[in-house]
């Protein structure tokens, strides 16, 4: 055995071109189009048909192909098959295509969902990073709280001092006022008591008479006015 050289060309890792969708063109379901194209320059359009007819007649007349009962059976079977394919072929093809379509669509859906999930995940991560950046707010708030508490405490202490001193001074003033008022009241009472005591019955009668005279005078002047 001679050994043929293998793997002579360089390996290229380019991806293969996509496979064609449809097969080669065929005429009458059997003969490829390339045959007709091949004969066209020499014999024109009818060339291959003439060749075919001639070949058939030659086979029949020389009895290279013998007509017997199997010929009839073949003709019947072939005609039934052809009729079935021509009538139901497209429907079956569409059904098979639909099955394939579904598979592909499912795979595509999975891929799209994966893409969407990854994108949302990236969004979330970016958002979390943005949140983390705001941590300075927290510490500002805490320091503010501390400053406020200190300031409040200091002011409370000042107020306490002031209030205590004021309370004591006010107490002194209030005590003084109270004492003076009590003294005044007592003195007034004492004076009144003494005056009442000193009014003798004689003085009382004289003052009552004077009051009556005054009243009469007043009533006269009042009558005169009215």
């Amino acid at each position: 055995h001679t050994t043929r050289p293998v793997h002579t060309t360089q390996q290229c890792s380019a991806p293969l071109p996509p496979l064609p969708e449809k097969g080669g063109e065929v005429r009458h379901g059997l003969i490829p189009e390339e045959f007709f194209k091949f004969l066209y320059p020499k014999t024109g359009v009818t060339g291959p048909y003439m060749l075919g007819t001639g070949l058939l007649l030659y086979l029949l007349s020389k009895e290279i192909y013998v007509i017997n009962h199997e010929t009839v059976a073949a003709a019947c079977i072939l005609s039934v098959i052809l009729y079935g394919v021509k009538k139901y072929g497209p429907a079956v093809a569409a059904f098979a295509d639909k099955l394939n379509e579904e598979k592909v669509a499912q795979a595509l859906a999975v891929k799209n969902e994966a893409i969407k999930n990854l994108e949302t995940a990236i969004e979330q991560e970016k958002k979390e990073q943005w949140r983390v950046e705001g941590r300075s707010y927290l510490f500002d708030a805490k320091r503010n709280n501390i400053a406020m508490m200190l300031e409040t405490n200091y002011r409370e202490r000042l107020m306490m001092v002031y209030n205590e001193v004021k309370k004591r001074l006010d107490y002194q003033v209030a005590m003084q006022n109270l004492k003076r008022q009590k003294e005044q009241d007592h003195m007034i009472q004492w004076v009144e008591k003494n005056v009442v005591q000193s009014i003798t019955p004689q003085q009382q009668k004289e003052s009552v008479a004077k009051c009556i005279l005054d009243l009469k005078a007043l009533s006269k002047s009042a009558q005169a006015v009215a």
Binding site: P15, P18, L19, V104, A107, L108, K111, A114, I115, L118, E119, A121, I122, E125, K126, E128, Q129, W130, R131, V132, E133, G134, R135, Y137, L138, F139, D140, A141, K142, R143, N144, N145, I146, A147, M148, M149, L150, E151, T152, N153, Y154, R155, E156, R157, L158, M159, V161, Y162, N163, V165, K166, R168, L169, Q172, V173, Q176
Partner: protein
């Protein structure tokens, strides 16, 4: 008085609230209420207490040296400022937070890089119509049938069909 008027920064609570993740909202609300209570208390107190009218008291109070004594002692009195014990703790917390957040951000960036890589791979895939089964197994390794583990058809456990 040095150190007394530590500046109270104005905090933008709205912006702060935006950055709080939903699972920490309760803590944030607690902090806010505490802050608001403190600032309300602070605003209720006057900055300086009102001055005592010494002349009036000197004229009114009978006891001779009492008012003078009070006045002397009052003006000599220094109210001690409250000592700040927590600021160092806050600074320490801030350092820790800075460190941990730097770590988190780094981990997050690594995750983002990973996601980007996968995204790139998915986006640059050939369309399914042009794929062979080998191409599919390359793109999604989980579709590859394990012929060593399950040598007989269908090459995967029956439950997975």
């Amino acid at each position: 008085m040095a150190g007394r008027r530590a500046a109270i920064k104005a905090i933008d609570w709205a912006a702060f609230a935006e950055r709080v993740p939903p699972n920490q909202k309760a803590m944030f609300n607690a902090l806010k209420t505490r802050s608001d209570a403190l600032s309300a208390r602070l605003a209720a107190l006057p900055e300086k207490p009102p001055t005592i009218d010494w002349a009036y008291y000197k004229a009114t109070v009978a006891k001779a040296g009492m008012v003078d004594e009070f006045q002397k002692k009052f003006s000599a009195l220094k109210v001690p400022e409250p000592v700040d014990t927590q600021s160092t703790k806050i600074d320490a917390q801030e350092q820790d937070a800075a460190k941990s957040s730097a770590e988190y951000v780094q981990a997050s960036k690594a995750r983002i890089a990973q996601y980007e890589q996968q995204l790139q791979k998915l986006r640059s895939m050939i369309p399914f119509e042009q794929m062979t089964f080998e191409d599919l197994h390359e793109a999604f390794p989980e579709t590859k049938l394990d012929k060593e583990k399950y040598p007989f058809w269908p090459h995967k456990p029956i439950a997975d069909l």
